[in-house]
């Protein structure tokens, strides 16, 4: 059980690292939002699931799973709202991208 929890947390940590590297290295706002919105959500869910597995079955573990559900719903929603706001404000896309609009 402990090894399974540690394995889940390590996989989640890899996703968190990928998310932060994407926020640093990607070229424009929309690709950065793509990195943060998906990879960070999956990484956080894996880390919290590992912590709940490490805790065992009690009320605290249920609360950790509640945080997991809250992050699963709110993190993509916040990223989507921010990206929609940026698109309507006319934030420029990357100069090498092949999008047809704008």
């Amino acid at each position: 059980m402990t090894w399974l929890a540690a394995a889940l947390m390590v996989i989640g940590g890899v996703f968190l690292l990928i998310s932060s590297i994407g926020l640093l290295r990607l070229p424009d706002f929309y690709t950065r939002a793509h990195a943060v919105g998906k990879s960070e959500t999956l990484g956080s869910m894996l880390v919290l699931g590992g912590l709940a597995l490490n805790q065992g079955a009690d009320l605290t573990s249920v609360k950790i799973l509640l945080i997991l559900v809250v992050i699963f719903i709110t993190n993509p929603t916040a990223t989507h709202a921010l990206t929609r706001s940026a698109y309507r404000s006319g934030v420029a896309i990357w100069k090498n991208s092949q999008a047809a609009d704008k």
Partner: protein, 102 residues
């Protein structure tokens, strides 16, 4: 091994949690660079949102390290909801029409 933060005997899971919390704390650096150097205000906001999500994970990890997870879990849940509300409010506040931007 030496005593843990609460004076109890430290096991290997505590060591793993300590280094994992250190790793999550080091990920703040990428977000801080993006907040400092982001070209638009939306880049800065998404960096702040990433710091908020990582801070939720860090709160739960610190709670598991100090054996006070029942208290820290409530703080983390509150912080996750406040982070979501803050990012959505900033997205709404900074949205402007395409004509008067740039």
């Amino acid at each position: 091994m030496s005593a843990g933060p609460t004076g109890r005997r430290k096991n290997s899971m505590d060591t793993f949690l300590l280094y994992f919390a250190l790793f999550v704390a080091l990920l703040f650096g990428a977000s801080l660079y993006r907040i400092s150097a982001g070209p638009t205000v939306f880049d800065r906001t998404i960096g702040a949102g990433l710091i908020g999500t990582n801070a939720v994970l860090l709160l739960v990890l610190i709670g598991a390290l100090y054996r006070r997870l029942d208290m820290f879990v409530d703080l983390a849940l509150t912080y996750a909801l406040l982070n979501f509300i803050g990012v959505v409010a900033l997205a709404k506040y900074f949205e402007r029409s395409r004509e008067d931007s740039r």
